[in-house]
């Protein structure tokens, strides 16, 4: 018997459960946008090269265009629609607004989801490709503009708003650190 090519599944998105039947070929990106009508997550390249579709999967930033929906069952999906707390914007969202971290805004949901994770990864002590000494004894590198640019390099911006994106991420990181202290 040929294997079934579709499944009934439950997706957990921004804390809510959704039950749907998907053809296995459906990516999480298409399930979110076409089936659950959450169009905040954007489709740029659809092949892992631009970061527009960045979401958080169990808290880790991931690309929804290369993630099969069926393989996301049992994992917690957070999209741009789920990062604010009620009316209060996430500090990264607020920093992007205050510092003009965008022009057309198409890449912005992906930039913001990515930046939220960058700040957490850095706080957890993760090194990056521009970290001079990766040994744990060297301690976490300061989140310099160079570190931010490298860590955010998976998010392209066709409008070239990079200068203010880096400033926005730096400010949000400072605020997050201040709030935690």
């Amino acid at each position: 018997m040929p294997p079934s090519t579709s499944s009934d599944l439950t997706l957990s998105v921004n804390g809510e459960k959704y039950t749907l039947t998907v053809d296995h070929r459906t990516t999480l990106l298409d399930a979110l946008r076409e089936r659950l009508e959450m169009t905040g997550t954007k489709k740029g390249c659809d092949q892992g090269q631009c970061g527009a579709c960045t979401i958080l999967l169990d808290g880790r930033r991931s690309l929804a265009c290369l993630q099969l929906a069926v393989a996301a069952e049992g994992r917690e999906v957070t999209t741009i629609e789920g990062v604010a707390e009620g009316e209060r914007l996430h500090p990264v969202q607020q920093a992007f607004l205050d510092l003009d971290g965008f022009q057309c805004g198409y890449c912005t949901p992906g930039q913001i989801c990515s930046a939220i994770a960058v700040i957490e990864e850095h706080a957890a002590g993760w090194p990056s490709a521009v970290t001079g000494d990766v040994r744990p004894e060297a301690g976490p590198p300061p989140l310099t503009p160079e570190e931010i640019r490298e860590r955010m390099s998976g998010n392209l911006c066709r409008c070239g708003a990079y200068v203010s994106i880096v400033q926005a991420v730096a400010r949000a990181a400072e605020e997050t650190k201040g709030a935690a202290a």
Partner: protein
């Protein structure tokens, strides 16, 4: 995209049994390469067996004092692991130099080893390609090949293996463990990728239906003084055009121990054994580093548009070994 069945495996023997040696079935790791290739039609599996829930997501001490890395450890977790960063820094650096933060969170160690070439003709199903469609020809040899192989290629295929992680693993003498219905097996990374020859479509020595279960790094004091350097056409989020992983131990100004591997120059991570022999016992200076690189690159057979790689690799070797030599001298 062809329609396909999907199953999740929860233990190693279950995963092997579900795949059942079926040539039309594939294991699904992070999917960052497989799903991409399914969209373009290069891969057309009838079934996927998802391995992300397997209990292979840990980095643990190995019996001989080395490190054992599970096949489903994500690239991010590998690069963030304190023991990897302390004892095998070149491996952490190589992983961090690859792809993006998002992709590294999804990508697994097993999938990274088995990712396919980025040759543009391979990715384009309307074009001939001996790797994708054996016997159809290799348009890259007379066409676009500025980022193709200069070492170990054949008249049948000049593609490179794109992994950064694999280059560090080659330098650090890693071995790959796998499981089939017949039991467990292990391959040194040096024997894991097959020579190109007339069969570029046969890429690894893994038996059919094998599940990669992990990678083992042997204990190695030299590895603590190791480094990965990658050259690419933009500052980040791009594949290498050349890279070097090296580990070096200098005593009294002479090379006591050295491990060297090249990336983006061959169909597999290229362990530079000729250069290693030339270096061992000799003075640790730029002149000897350059001579050793030249000895390795004497075997290079560049095409009209990738000769720059020979000079690039020579300069990279000198730069990386000089930095490491300076660090051991301190």
């Amino acid at each position: 995209m062809r329609e396909f069945g999907y199953q999740r495996a929860y233990d190693v023997s279950g995963a092997v049994a579900l795949l059942d040696g079926d040539g039309e079935a594939r294991f699904l790791g992070g999917g960052t390469n497989l799903v991409d290739l399914m969209k373009t039609g290069v891969e057309r599996p009838a079934r996927l067996v998802d391995v992300r829930e397997l209990p292979l997501n840990r980095v643990e001490p190995a019996e001989d004092g080395g490190l054992r890395i599970g096949a489903t450890v994500t690239n991010s977790d590998l690069a963030a692991h304190p023991e990897v960063r302390r004892r095998y820094p070149a491996l952490a650096q190589a992983v961090l130099a690859g792809a993006s933060g998002q992709l590294r969170n999804m990508a697994t160690v097993g999938g990274n080893l088995l990712q396919r070439t980025r040759c543009g003709y391979f990715a384009d199903v309307t074009s001939p390609c001996n790797k994708r469609d054996p016997g159809s020809g290799c348009p890259a040899i007379t066409g676009e090949h500025h980022n193709h192989a200069v070492l170990g290629a054949s008249g049948h295929c000049v593609a490179t293996h794109p992994s950064d992680m694999g280059v560090a693993l080659a330098a650090l003498d890693a071995s790959v463990s796998y499981e089939t219905a017949a039991g467990a097996g292990e391959l040194p990374l040096a024997d894991f990728y097959l020579p190109v020859g007339e069969t570029p479509h046969l890429e690894t020595a893994l038996p059919p239906g094998a599940l990669i279960t992990g990678v083992t790094l042997p204990a190695n004091d030299t590895a603590a003084n190791s480094r990965y350097r990658k050259v690419r056409e933009r500052a980040s989020y791009a594949f290498a055009i050349g890279s070097v992983a090296a580990a070096l131990d200098v005593r009294d100004g002479h090379v006591h121990d050295v491990r060297l591997a090249f990336g983006a120059v061959a169909s597999r991570p290229w362990r530079a054994r000729t250069a290693e022999s030339a270096l061992t016992g000799g003075p640790a200076d730029a002149e000897h580093f350059a001579a050793a690189a030249d000895a390795e690159l004497a075997a290079a057979r560049p095409l009209p548009h990738n000769g720059y790689k020979v000079t690039l690799m020579r300069n990279l070797v000198v730069a990386v070994l000089s930095e490491l030599a300076e660090e051991t001298a301190r």
